[in-house]
């Protein structure tokens, strides 16, 4: 039995700092995706919302919030939260409903209205919450963790700040070609080097901003797609939403310490590598089959880690890949042809959905000036804090 589902429609609200409600962005993205699919909202049997924790109660019940904004029509509703991996969980929930025969057409929506500056924990005195504790006790912001990984790469692999800057240069060049991106200006290595240090060794232009944005997908069974005359749709072949295995040996947000390896030896490979591995196994393909990848470049240095974790190269060779231009548009396997978080800024619950929107347009050959020629297969990869894996394989 084929476990494929069809992507009938993809839509996004442009990323930026628009100062409006996340509901507006999500509704706009949903309507764009529905129009792209040639379907009416009334045709949708189920809606899955990726939650946001920054907009009060409506954000915690995003599925219903978007359904209400689109106009109640009785669809089954689901709302999910998994931090940065929320979008992949929403796609995973939609896929499970389709493959189980509970729904033929499912609308997946995620949107956020982000505050300026560092992400901060929710208020109050909450010493039982690791996310509260890391700020209270250490002042450990998200960029602090990204910087720890970057410094570690410099010490272990010999990466340099110039290597990290090349990732920004590459992604900014791609983002300049994407009308949905927030930052659409090419960036030079000199500009990265001249930007302020935020958390040594990372500079402002090494670290992704926080943005407003919304993304949506209309997903269906393969039978439904055929009945609509769509014989060769983009297909989602795998959705990986794995958790880590004990003991975790990489210090991860928002943790203050890793697990101890005294009782149980750690499994080989990182948690991030296991996210992609599960997706490849489910899809029955490997990194050598990829035309492109969209990975979560929260920082420039982290994008290099993803190259290794999704199997584009061996451990420690990520910087070599970007130096050779292998992951740039026109390279062997472009990574973040959309421009990535470097060009978008992070709109948490929308981001993993936006990654799949980009794969969809690329696999359709409809990505305009940033088109990867002849794209046949792509992977998205991402990780949500508190142990959420997120990867989607799409093929044509």
């Amino acid at each position: 039995m084929s476990a494929d589902i069809a992507v009938l429609g993809a839509g996004m609200h442009p990323w930026g700092k628009w100062g409006r409600s996340f509901v507006e962005y999500g509704r706009a993205a949903a309507r764009t995706a529905l129009a792209d699919a040639g379907l009416e909202w009334a045709d949708v049997q189920s809606i899955v919302g990726a939650d946001t924790v920054r907009s009060g109660y409506p954000g915690y019940v995003a599925g219903a919030t978007f359904a209400r904004a689109l106009g109640w029509q009785g669809a089954r509703v689901t709302s999910v939260y998994a931090a940065c991996a929320s979008g992949a969980q929403a796609i995973g929930a939609a896929r499970a409903q389709i493959l189980a025969g509970l729904a033929d057409v499912v609308l997946v929506v995620g949107a956020d209205a982000a505050p300026k500056g560092f992400f901060a924990p929710t208020g109050g005195d909450r010493p039982d919450d690791p996310d509260w504790l890391r700020f209270r006790v250490l002042g450990a912001t998200n960029p602090a963790y990204f910087a720890l990984y970057a410094r570690r790469r410099m010490a272990v692999y010999g990466d340099t700040p110039e290597d990290f800057a090349q990732v920004k240069v590459k992604n900014a060049a791609a983002g300049a070609l994407n009308p949905l991106a927030r930052y659409r200006k090419p960036v030079t290595a000199e500009e990265v080097a001249q930007s302020a240090v935020v958390a040594d060794p990372l500079r402002l232009l090494d670290i992704c901003a926080t943005s407003d944005g919304g993304a949506a997908l209309v997903l269906s069974s393969m039978d439904f797609a055929r009945s609509r005359g769509v014989g060769d749709p983009v297909r989602i072949r795998a959705v990986s939403t794995v958790t880590p295995t004990y003991p975790r040996t990489v210090l991860d947000l928002p943790d203050i310490a890793t697990d101890s390896v005294t009782a149980v030896p750690p499994a080989p490979g990182s948690f991030r590598a296991s996210i992609a591995r599960a997706a490849y196994e489910e899809a029955g393909l490997g990194p050598e089959d990829l035309s492109l990848a969209e990975v979560y470049d929260l920082s420039t240095a982290l994008e290099l880690e993803w190259y290794e974790d999704i199997g584009l190269c061996a451990g420690g060779e990520g910087a070599k890949l970007v130096r050779e231009g292998a992951t740039a548009l026109g390279g062997r396997v472009p990574v973040n042809a959309s421009g990535g978080l470097a060009s978008f800024g992070e709109a948490v619950p929308a981001q993993a959905i936006a990654q799949v929107c980009e794969l969809t347009w690329q696999l359709r050959g409809a990505a305009g000036d940033r088109q990867v020629p002849g794209a046949r297969a792509g992977i998205t990869a991402n990780q949500g804090l508190f142990g959420h894996g997120s990867a989607v394989v799409a093929v044509r």
């Binding site: 504790l133 410094r151 697990d259 009782a263 149980v264």
Partner: protein
């Protein structure tokens, strides 16, 4: 008003460790599977292969370790990190330290004055007590753990 020294989180460290050992981080160890936890787990063991039935007993962590990585905070972090918004921001240094005996990496700030320029991956550091912030209104001095180089070879 008298000033009282209060740990920023209770039970995570002690000023007098075993055998006159001074300041030590405190974790817990499962008696059934030997897994060590920091921050401490008191309610349950998180090792999925633990046979169960063990007790989680308090255990001091190694006083020394080696730098896994480090960074600093050039901009003021948001609340609940305590800082005086009217005072100029003084960057602090964060260091992730690998404790060999426990097989784990623990994050902490460095002792005052230890900047990233004085650190290197692999360098030996030791844990010491320090002050996170002082609350002028209540007279509370919030204490915490910090790391500083031992001067040993990297």
């Amino acid at each position: 008003m008298g000033r009282t020294r209060t740990p920023v989180v209770s039970g995570w460290f002690t000023e007098d460790g075993p055998e006159g050992g001074g300041f030590r981080l405190l974790g817990t160890r499962c008696s059934a599977c030997t897994a060590v936890f920091f921050p401490r787990e008191d309610a349950y063991c998180r090792n999925p292969r633990c046979p169960g039935g063990g007790l989680l007993a308090e255990v001091p962590l190694s006083p020394r370790g080696r730098v896994w990585s480090y960074t600093d905070g050039r901009y003021r972090p948001p609340a609940p990190y305590a800082s005086d918004p009217d005072a100029p921001w003084e960057p602090y240094t964060l260091v992730a330290v690998e404790l060999e005996a426990e097989g784990m990496v623990v994050l902490g700030q460095t002792a005052p004055g230890v900047t990233v320029a004085e650190l290197a991956v692999g360098m030996e550091v030791e844990v010491v007590g320090g002050v996170l912030n002082e609350d002028a209104d209540t007279g509370t001095v919030w204490t915490t753990w910090q790391f500083r180089p031992t001067g040993g070879a990297a």
